[in-house]
């Protein structure tokens, strides 16, 4: 059976005032793919990721999710199927871990309370943080927060999971915990897009690498080819610096 196309993006552009950040991105995402987005800082890679679930509203271009045109009106519905994990975790600080996990399923009426709490407990147990159920985010370490943020996104069983530099704000030890959780999701066939600076992780997890510079995709390919034989001088230069 052919894999479903999740996402098709045509000529995506985004400007902040006069500052043109994305200059026409064309992109297609297929079910089960794990796309790592690389690029120098300020290249627009985070903005690209944030445009996918309209954390930033695109200035122009066309976006289809599951074949349906994404608009300002239906984006809220789409977001149920597009989970996002942020660099700074963004756990809701006035809610306990349990409340964070069950907020969306309950508010969007996709689960009953006992059902949502059962699933939350299973996921918490799985990441070894069962005892943090009633803790507030302020009492958690960065690594714990990020792993909870990941399972919070998983509560809604999204089709795609977006990671915006998920380990950039973590200490080295926590990075390992968070990466192994992402790796596990990948092994289970989750469709994933990640912006990251962890090159070895990118190489290991990606089914495709996308390189963005000055708001455009300038090179993409399978990780082996991409890292071993970069085609464009800009990518060669970038890899020389980071590897």
């Amino acid at each position: 059976m052919d894999k479903n196309t999740e996402l098709v993006i045509k000529d995506l552009r985004k400007s902040f005032g006069k500052n043109k950040v994305l200059n026409g991105i064309n992109f297609k995402l297929t079910e089960g793919e794990r796309v790592v987005i690389l690029g120098p800082s300020g290249s627009g890679k985070s903005t690209f990721l944030r445009c996918i679930n309209w954390m930033e509203e695109p200035t122009s271009g066309e976006m289809r999710f599951d074949g349906e045109l994404v608009t300002a009106k239906n984006i809220r519905k789409m977001r149920r199927d597009i989970g996002m994990v942020f660099q700074h975790f963004n756990l809701i600080s006035n809610m306990t871990v349990m409340e964070n996990l069950t907020l969306a399923p309950l508010k969007l009426k996709v689960m009953k309370k006992d059902e949502a709490e059962k699933r939350a407990r299973e996921l918490l147990k799985h990441i070894g943080l069962s005892e943090k159920e009633n803790a507030y985010p302020a009492s958690l370490s960065g690594g714990q927060k990020q792993r909870i943020a990941i399972i919070r996104a998983m509560m809604m069983s999204p089709e795609v999971l977006l990671f915006d530099e998920p380990t950039s704000a973590l200490d080295p030890e926590s990075i390992g915990d968070v990466l192994s959780l992402i790796r596990e999701l990948a092994d289970r066939g989750m469709t994933i897009m990640i912006v990251t600076h962890e090159m070895s992780f990118a190489k290991e997890i990606a089914t495709r690498i996308v390189f963005i510079d000055k708001g455009k995709i300038i090179e993409e390919g399978k990780p082996n080819e991409f890292f071993a034989h970069p085609k464009t001088p800009r990518v060669q230069e970038f890899l020389e610096k980071v590897l």
């Binding site: 679930n53 954390m55 809220r76 519905k77 789409m78 977001r79 149920r80 597009i82 989970g83 996002m84 942020f86 700074h88 975790f89 963004n90 756990l91 809701i92 600080s93 006035n94 809610m95 306990t96 907020l103 969306a104 508010k107 969007l108 943090k132 009633n134 803790a135 507030y136 985010p137 302020a138 009492s139 919070r152 996104a153 809604m156």
Partner: protein
Amino acid sequence: MNDFFSKIAELFSTPEYIDSLLHGFLLTMQIAYFAILIGVALGTIIALIDTAKPSKWLTIPKFICTVYTTVIRGTPMALQLFIMFFVIFAVKGFPSIITAIIAFGLNSAAYTAEVIRSGIQSVDIGQKEAGMALGLSNFTIFTKIIAPQAIKNIIPALGNEIITVIKETAIVSMVGMYDLNMAAKDIGSGQNMASYIVPMFVAALFYLATIYLITFIVRRIEESLRKSDLRTEE
């Protein structure tokens, strides 16, 4: 010194004086209470309009709010009170307490709006984004995430504003109203200079005790709201 204590004894043993002070205190509290209610209600509306995402429907309301807060905060309270008394509500027989409540309420609204606006804007943008990414409605994001966090920032400054209003009502004595401040002056007048001392200090104690009580209550509220900020678990 003997004279001082005898004055105190005199004040507290003369029912008319006690009566005057209590009446004055009651008027002060009535004006302050209703002014604060108006201030919080109107201030909240202004703050919500101010912090709302710009759209063509809100262009004019936003402009009005800006002009309002600028004018109110840019002119003296005493002048605003005079304008209310001698221009806008210069109708014979119109109850002066209503005029005073409106004057202080409208004034407090501008300051309260600023307090609430800054409270809302100080909530980390990531909190809103988390709600958006989960597919929540703007209403849910505001009521469940933004507002509960904003209140923590708002309460201390709002307590400050309440205290300011209570003390500032003392200027109603300038338009002849018999508030606590006026009562103190009235009791002391018609005698010698020294006779002012005792009633004024007593009036000061009334203000001080009230404000101390409010400060205490605000502290307690702050503490209970800060529960989720603690780094230890419950």
